[in-house]
Amino acid sequence: MNAYLHIPFCTSICSYCDFTSFAGQENKISRYVDALCVEITSSDLKGPLQTIYFGGGTPSLLPPEKLQTILEALRQKAGFSFDIEISMEANPETVDEQRLRSYRALGVNRLSFGAQAFQTEILKKMGRGHDWTIVEKAFNDARLAGFTNINLDLMFGLAGQSLSQFQESVQKVQELNPEHISLYALQVEEGTPLAKQVEEGLELPDEDQVADEYAWAQKSLTTQGYEQYEVSNFSKPGFACRHNWNIWRGEDYWGFGLSAVGTVGDVRHGHGDDLMVYINQASQGRKGLLEKEVLSQSVRAWERIMLQFRTQEGVLESELESYVRSQGGSSYKERFNRFEKEGFISLSQGRYRVTSKGYFVLNGILETLMV
């Protein structure tokens, strides 16, 4: 079993972010953690847990003792597998060596820092609260604290960022030599400050530049010994994020906390995004807390295909066949042959995999499978 925990607090909100999070509400962290623990305890979660992922928001705003409370609740409820992966997202400006040591001591064994870009002016525009020296310090502190599995997030397609500035960012990340690098193309999400800026005329790099950046990074990272195991994720061998892998494979996962989503069996559950409503309801152990969506067999099959194609694991040809047939679908074969010829996908040992070239146009590949 896998568990995702959402920590919806930030010191400030980044312009592009559409995750549920609140700035200036840190005084509610304590009550939130209490509510979260009640939710965990009164849930149907069954262990042992293979992975735990603290996402946000900014989970590194959690004081170590609060983290301890949550982990204790999880351990008591479900138990931990001996090789459990406990991941935590962190913003570089929120941590120091001591705090990181505490996290490590509590069992956190994977850290994910939001680095995003090297250039201070670009970070500022995005609403980030750090510059590169802070990233370097946080990274080095994490090493000192004993972390041997660290991810750095980078973004591309950013406003005002040239190809060479992006390349510089990638090089700077490589210099730190993290085990894992996530590389996200900027997406303008509805309702974010960024969406408003774009509407008001903020210019973003065009499709060509974004594609050039992606291609350059793919090449640069793979020559440095990273494997692209998912559309946006690169890791040194053996350092893929197990939590995400498990979910992409279609394993069950629980979501706890505000706005968190989980999928257990054929039920997907979610939470609302009102902080006080959550705190009040969760702390009473209310069953009505969860929003549930029953996934039909065909939706589950499709999601598995959609997710697996995002990863290097790929999809069994037979699984694809039976899905398309179950949809009364047309022949995807002809298109897939063409994709193969063009080098977008490969077929070996009965599995279709998207190639590094194919990742660029994955939506188009998936669409051919949709009826």
Binding site: Q187, E207, R310, F344, V361, L362, N363
Partner: protein, 599 residues
């Protein structure tokens, strides 16, 4: 009522000169309808007509008028369509009258359809009563109108009634002029029945209702009427008049106008212009002037969703019941699969039919570029008539191709003579004559290939003259032309629905224009898509749609899966509205792009 006290008349006018409003006022003034029950512009029945300000189907309305001479007159007002596409229908409606009100907008003056209709009316020897309408407008120029009438129509301007239908000015004067100047009908009640079908409409309860003008004899319920052209016989079930509400009556006699219902299933059984007689006591000769209305403009209509084929078929068959001029037959396109080749009287008719199909039958349609009828002479002497580029024989088998021409009259302010002539020249027109209506406006006559007119001539004429030009045309036979078929290839496969016929001199330009337009319209695909225009095997233009470079969702984590799945669904849904041809996704606009290309 004795013939002495009957007046059959119509109103003829250029579009928007106030015909429908005047009809309303006449009915209101004579008490045919109480003012507050008045639905504005009652004679236009269909919503579509109302919206477009045009009248498609003529109707006859009877009302009574007590004239200043103290006598009561039966007035039959016959409404006529005002657009060139319906010229023949207009001429039949005129044939049912003895007089016509020639309505001219005081600020617009004489326009192309004013002229065309006035000529038609005088050809039929109708008494013409000129009416200058909208005199209340600040921009009204009555003197100018009078002068134009005298110069271009040889009508004495001093005879014109000055009116404002909107304000109710001059209505009584118009009625008096009708009584005084329009002769009563002539005809002999004792002779065998002879009546003219001047219009028809389809009623879901009664079937086809025909509008007739009885010339001789009389007709009543039970009469076994015979249509002399179609040779069909029907028993009259109901007879009556519109006042303007439908009212049954016992009979219609020589000189009168009314409607007949006879359980006729299809309008094509009761053709406009046909002569009705009594099967048991037939008249010797049919009325002259009957013409079968033949479609002049054709296009393919295809449902966007192939599932809607049956629905489209049913809709067309229903429309056809009430629209004799519409023709259709099944057609198959490799690109668009199953649809229909439809024939129309003209561009407006085509637009109206498409709009009715989409609006009244809730269909989503793709229309291919309009085509005209070409006559082909093959090298072996065989002759062919085609209305679809795909029917064109192999070029090596063609000796010559003939295309239809029209005789166009364009009225335009003198300042625009130059631009209109340039436009007509571009459209391969042959200049016939330019004359002046008055010092400021000219009538320019051109012979133009119809194929050029159906492309975008109206739009161009309008924009070149800031909307001041008015156009009227009539067909004038065929002339030989150097016509070729241009194919459009996407991804090296010809897309039949994009093929078109064009004069050789224009083939390169139009081919290039279309290729460029398609490049703009076709979204980037997974692969590069070559676009080519070709005559036979010879490529005359080439463009390329670049391959899409990046189309992937950056993130898809546990919390995101539902949303991302739906996002993909939405993206896919958007593409469903496109046609997938030769593994290229083509938006619907692409099929219309062929129309919107500059030469």
């Amino acid at each position: 009522m004795s013939l002495e006290h009957i007046r059959n008349f119509c109103i003829i006018a250029h579009i928007d000169h106030g015909k429908s409003t005047l009809a309303d006022r006449l009915l209101e003034f004579t008490g045919a309808i109480p003012p507050r029950e008045m639905r504005a512009q009652l004679m236009d029945q269909m919503d579509l007509e109302r919206e477009r300000g045009i009248t498609i189907k003529a109707k006859a309305v009877r009302f009574f008028y007590k004239a200043k001479d103290g006598k009561k007159y039966e007035m039959n007002l016959i409404d006529t369509p005002g657009h060139v596409d319906f010229n023949y229908e207009v001429s039949r409606s005129l044939k049912a009258c003895e007089g016509a009100l020639l309505l001219i907008d005081a600020s617009q003056g004489v326009e192309a359809q004013t002229l065309a209709n006035a000529y038609l009316a005088s050809d039929q020897n109708l008494a013409i009563i000129p009416v200058i309408n909208k005199i209340d407008l600040p921009s009204a120029d009555v003197e100018r109108c009078k002068k134009q009438m005298e110069d271009s129509l040889a009508i004495d301007g001093s005879e014109a009634v000055l009116a404002s239908a909107k304000e109710g000015i001059g209505i009584e004067e118009i009625l008096e002029a009708v009584v005084k100047n329009v002769p009563p009908p002539t005809g002999v009640v004792d002779e065998p029945l002879k009546a003219l079908i001047f219009d028809s409409m389809f009623d879901i309860y009664r079937g086809v209702m025909i509008f007739v003008r009885v010339i001789n004899g009389s007709i009543k319920k039970g009469t076994k009427m015979k249509f002399m052209v179609t040779n069909k016989v029907f028993e009259v079930e109901e007879i009556g008049v519109f006042k303007p509400k439908m009212e049954k009556s016992d009979q219609l006699s020589a000189g009168e106008v009314g409607y007949i219902a006879a359980n006729i299933k299809e309008v094509r059984d009761a053709k406009v212009g046909d002569t009705i007689t009594d099967e048991t006591n037939p008249t010797a000769e049919a009325l002259p002037g009957f013409k079968d209305v033949l479609p002049m403009v054709f296009c393919g209509l295809y449902p966007v969703s192939t599932d809607d084929y049956a629905k489209l078929k049913e809709a067309l068959s229903k429309l056809k019941l009430s629209d004799a001029a519409l023709s259709y037959e099944p057609e198959t396109s490799l690109a668009l699969s199953f649809g229909f080749r439809c024939g129309f009287l003209g561009l407006l008719h085509m637009e109206i039919v498409q709009e009715r199909l989409e609006r009244e039958y809730d269909l989503n349609l793709i229309a291919t570029a309009p085509s005209v009828i070409y006559k082909i002479k093959k090298t072996n002497g065989e002759e062919l008539v085609i209305d679809n580029p795909s029917e064109l024989p192999d070029p090596t088998l063609i000796d010559s191709i003939f295309e239809p021409y029209i005789d166009a009259k364009i009225i335009v302010p003198a300042d625009y003579i130059g631009v209109v002539m340039t436009l007509c020249q571009e459209k391969r027109g042959i200049h016939k004559n330019t004359s002046f209506i008055d010092t400021t406006r000219a009538v320019i006559s051109y012979e133009l290939p119809l194929a050029e007119v159906v492309m975008d001539f109206f739009d161009k004429l309008k924009s070149a003259t800031k909307g001041y030009a008015s156009l009227d045309y009539e067909p004038m036979g065929y002339q030989e032309g150097h016509i070729v078929k241009v194919d459009i290839l996407l991804n090296n496969e010809p897309v039949d629905a994009l093929s078109f016929m064009v004069h050789r001199d224009k083939a390169e330009n139009r081919g290039r224009g279309i290729a460029e337009k398609l490049k703009e319209i076709i979204p980037t695909q997974m692969f590069e898509v070559p676009i080519q225009a070709a005559i036979g095997g010879k490529v005359i233009a080439r463009e390329t749609v670049r391959a899409r470079r990046k189309d992937v969702l950056a993130k898809c984590y546990g919390g995101d899966i539902s949303r991302k799945r739906k996002l993909l669904d939405k993206q896919k849904e958007g593409k469903k509205r496109m046609k997938n041809i030769g593994s290229v996704e083509i938006p619907q606009e692409a099929f219309m792009a062929v129309l919107k290309v500059e030469d």
